[in-house]
Symmetry: C2
Subunit: 221 residues, 2 copies
């Protein structure tokens, strides 16, 4: 059993976990947060392919009819969960860190943590499954487009602020670099799951660090 | 219907297509090549989840018993296909191009072509499905580890040769850069499939080009 509350605050969609029982989520819309937590728990327990709305209902302490009232089936719940968790992840990164370089490194760190516990690993596997559904599933494709664009836009903003503050080199193109970084992070996360037994990913993280170093204003060797 | 012979020579595993009826494949082991072509056709027709060994047999002009004799079921056929197609892709890149920079650009171009026809798109979708199976499927995980390592080692070799020849900057670390590039290419290919309607990927390819430019010896702005 994986307890959702154990899964930390790694940002579920684009990172390891998230949508857990943090207070800030619940203040927005307690019922939605509760439904999202049930979806999260069901997803890590059962994976996407085997998941049913009954599986989500089993994790939901209130009446199942509430799920049907608010959501149009399993895929709608999962797509909403993707959006919900992305919002939380973005808020965390934004609120907690001010320095642009530190913010970018924290984002990378959240997306590619040194190690994944069982719950975080399961979420990432489920997310990869959802990603591989996107060619067949319009709803997921739309939601992932939102997720990917949000991440890209956040990274571009951090880079812009960092160029202004003098942290990043003036010849860094924020939009191009954000495009590259989102692809790079997606690739690292995908490859990591293909080679689970090789954890932790020290080599890859060093490569990512080196990549970020090159964006710095004082990076010229 | 997608005809395997239409799918071009884009390198199936790490690129768009491949395992098609090229002469060089058949000289190695004609029966294996024929089985691999049947697997390829079945995979693009049916995708991974719906694929059965009967589906592969339907694409195979000889006796189905040959499939069972040589392969231990559907997953064994598919894993062999991944390896077979990777070998072909590597041979193409290696044999046809000598200049390191041109070789690296060709590799990127094969993996992230400007546009994908229907057959190439379907293969990439099937490959993403296989990739998302890796956490649950030891055989695929092993095969993808071979594929990823092969690509990484090829890229590192090209970089090493290019540093020696003076094409790439001397401060490029071939192994680290290869690690980054394999992740980057995997990510780009994954993201592309999540946003099929946005083809062609001109922006992403420009970002990749810019990335490669930075590795060049004369890249300092």
């Amino acid at each position: 059993m994986v307890d959702a509350d154990d899964a930390g605050n790694g940002g579920v969609v684009v990172a390891g976990s998230g949508a857990t029982g943090d207070a800030d989520t619940e203040t927005d819309d307690p019922l939605k947060a509760e439904i999202m937590r049930a979806t999260y728990r069901a997803l890590i327990e059962q994976g996407y392919s085997d998941l049913t709305i009954q599986g989500i209902a089993d994790e939901f302490p209130k009446s199942k009819s509430l799920l049907y009232y608010h959501y149009d089936g399993k895929d709608d719940l999962i797509a909403s969960f993707l959006g919900f968790a992305t919002d939380r992840f973005r808020r965390e990164i934004e609120v907690e860190i001010d320095d642009p370089e530190a913010q970018l490194r924290a984002l990378v760190d959240q997306l590619v943590p040194e190690s994944l516990d069982e719950g975080e690993y399961r979420v990432q596997v489920a997310l990869l499954e959802l990603r591989s559904e996107t060619p067949h599933n319009e709803r997921f494709r739309q939601q992932y487009a939102v997720v990917d664009d949000a991440l890209k836009s956040d990274i571009a903003d951090v880079l812009r602020r960092g160029i202004e503050s003098g942290a990043f080199a003036t010849d860094v193109n924020p939009d191009t670099e954000a495009e590259v970084l989102v692809s790079l992070l997606t690739g690292v996360r995908t490859l990591r799951l293909s080679t689970y037994e090789r954890f932790p990913v020290a080599e890859t993280r060093a490569a990512l660090d080196g990549y970020l170093d090159r964006l710095l204003a004082d990076s010229e060797a």
